[in-house]
């Protein structure tokens, strides 16, 4: 801190002091006071002013010079607050507090970003490994000049699904512009999902049971279709596991709708292997595969996590209910929008 800057900053107090001096002389003249007395008074005032100014100046200079010095030496400038003691004068204290708080907030923000970046990296790596499986199958089929079109289709469907999944994973983190809330017909969405996974469902002789679903909800149709698709895909996966263990089981996935005053609830229920109680609360956690994940190879623990994330963004509530060995039921609740209802 330069002396001139400091003095310029203090110009009002300095001008005030000089004004006071002039006043004293003028009053001394009016009241015919002793000139010696006036000089002494002025001298005292100037001395006091000068001393306090010097004290103040050097205190600040010490503080800010130290701060600047440390700052210039620091590699990571944001650590400055950790290196400085409180100066003991109010504005310095306040600035330091503000710096400290804003630094803290920034650190939290960076932490959460760092977390999501590492999360994404981990997911990406896992995803690449997943995607290589159908790719190499197709590669082999091509090499062997396979004519098993159905087998190829199966691998292609798998690829499609992985690509969908990573797209929506990226979208779940993206800004809001990616989705559009509008009326969607549940029946139409469910039909699309079932048709999309037709080969897998028919190939495993799983039957589809649909209640009356012809109800509109307010959501983003693409996102919701993806969510339902993931749930159905999980159902298929775990029905297949069950059917493999018990040949007499006939797989089925049923869709139903429950309407209450405030909610429309879509339920998707399968008679697969179910989820045990311990794992039930954690199925929406990232990368959680649980015991069931170990029973099938194709479990990444990402499907339901992404579903939950998307549902949170869309404002839907997603819940799971299950009895191990009997069924799994996923429920998605949509708030009824009064505005849309009214129209």
């Amino acid at each position: 801190m330069k002396l001139t800057t400091y003095l310029w900053n203090k110009k009002i107090s300095i001008a005030g002091t000089f004004f006071l001096v002039i006043c004293i002389y003028m009053m001394g003249f009016v009241f015919k006071a002793d000139l010696q007395y006036q000089h002494a008074l002025v001298f005292l005032i100037l001395l006091c002013g000068f001393v306090s100014l010097c004290f103040d100046y050097f205190r600040r200079k010490l503080f800010y010079d130290e701060m600047l010095g440390i700052l210039s030496q620091l590699e990571e400038k944001y650590l400055i607050v950790e290196m400085i003691d409180k100066p003991g004068f109010p504005d310095g204290d306040i600035i330091l507090d503000i710096l400290y708080e804003s630094n803290k907030a920034m650190k939290e923000r960076i932490n959460s970003l760092e977390l999501s970046v590492t999360e994404f990296k981990e997911y990406l790596e896992m995803w690449i490994h997943e995607v290589k499986v159908p790719l190499s199958s197709l590669d082999l089929m091509n090499y062997n000049e396979s004519t098993d079109l159905k087998g190829q289709k199966k691998q292609i469907d798998k690829l499609k699904q992985y690509v969908e999944q990573i797209l929506f994973y990226a979208r779940a983190d993206a800004p809001e512009k990616d989705y559009l809330m509008k009326r969607c017909n549940l029946n139409k969405l469910v039909n699309n999902v079932v048709k999309e996974q037709k080969d897998l469902i028919l190939g495993n002789k799983i039957s589809i049971v649909k209640d009356e679903l012809d109800i509109d909800v307010i959501s983003d149709s693409k996102w919701l279709e993806f969510i339902i698709g993931q749930i159905v895909n999980n159902s298929i996966k775990y029905i297949i596991v069950k059917m493999r263990e018990d040949k007499t089981v006939k797989g089925s996935i049923s869709f139903g709708v429950n309407k209450t005053d405030e909610m429309v609830i879509l339920s998707i229920k399968d008679n697969g292997i179910g989820i045990n109680e311990r794992d039930l609360q954690r199925v929406f956690d990232k990368s959680f595969t649980g015991e069931n994940g170990r029973r099938t190879t194709a479990s990444t623990g990402m499907g339901l996590y992404i579903c939950k994330k998307l549902c949170d963004k869309l404002g839907h509530i997603i819940e799971v209910r299950s009895n191990e060995g009997e069924f799994t039921e996923i429920k998605i609740s949509f708030g009824k929008d009064k505005y849309y209802e009214f129209r």
């Binding site: 499609k160 690509v163 979208r171 512009k177 990616d178 989705y179 559009l180 509008k182 039909n191 079932v194 048709k195 999309e196 037709k198 028919l202 002789k205 039957s207 589809i208 649909k210 983003d220 149709s221 693409k222």
Partner: protein, 222 residues
């Protein structure tokens, strides 16, 4: 035969699309240069355009906008940009339909047919004939010598598929798959029940055993 023009910069994909469309009784062509797309479209005057959104040097949406200014030809946007927002934008520029990549080929065909039907120029005229049987899917009835019998949606689906495959064996899987594509998620048992119902209804019209069972292969219309 309807002529469909494919505007797609990935030529391999465009070729495959052409094959798919030609196999399904459309004539198809694709663009190989992407300069002055709108002029080329106007010049070729197709019955429908399949338009990709991401094109080299041009944006499908703006192509659509310019094309709409000079023509009412139906346009289906086919694209990998498949958010609701893209769909909304395309529709607001005058697209007739919107399909996201990667699409299921049979669903693409259904969409094309639906668009033609909607604008009323479908030449796969609904009515199908076999011997004296007249099948009208839009009304859900079959008529034989003036006598009409009503069919349910499933029955109509089965019969129209058999009609279309005249003389060829249709497997049960094929039938189920076809019904699923038209939103009827029947299982094996339901199919059997429905086939029997169709047979009974045909018997009412005097056609006994017109749907033959080929063991282990499927059904055939005789």
């Amino acid at each position: 035969m309807k002529n469909i023009l494919i505007v797609e910069d990935n030529l391999e994909l465009a070729k495959e699309l052409k094959t798919l469309l030609e196999r399904n009784n459309y004539s198809a062509d694709y663009l190989t240069s992407f300069e002055n797309i709108v002029e080329q479209l106007v010049e070729k005057a197709p019955d429908m355009v399949l338009l990709d959104i991401n094109l080299p040097g041009a944006d499908g949406e703006s192509v659509l906008k310019q094309y709409r200014a000079v023509s009412d030809t139906p346009v289906i946007m086919v694209t990998s940009r498949n958010t609701d927002m893209d769909e909304l934008l395309s529709m607001s520029f005058g697209a007739d339909d919107f399909i996201g990549k990667p699409y299921n080929p049979s669903i693409l065909l259904l969409h094309i047919e639906a668009v033609f039907k909607r604008i009323g120029t479908s030449d796969s005229d609904d009515i199908m004939r076999y011997k004296d049987i007249v099948l009208e899917p839009s009304r859900g009835v079959i008529t034989v010598n003036g006598q009409s019998v009503e069919l349910t949606k499933n029955e109509m689906g089965i019969l129209s598929y058999l009609f279309r495959a005249q003389g060829k064996i249709v497997s049960r899987d094929e039938l189920i798959s076809y019904l699923w594509d038209s939103d009827e998620f029947v299982d094996d048992n339901t199919l059997t029940v429905n086939i029997n119902r169709v047979r009974r209804k045909l018997e009412e019209c005097g056609y006994n055993d017109i749907i033959k069972t080929k063991r282990g292969q499927g059904y055939i219309l005789e």
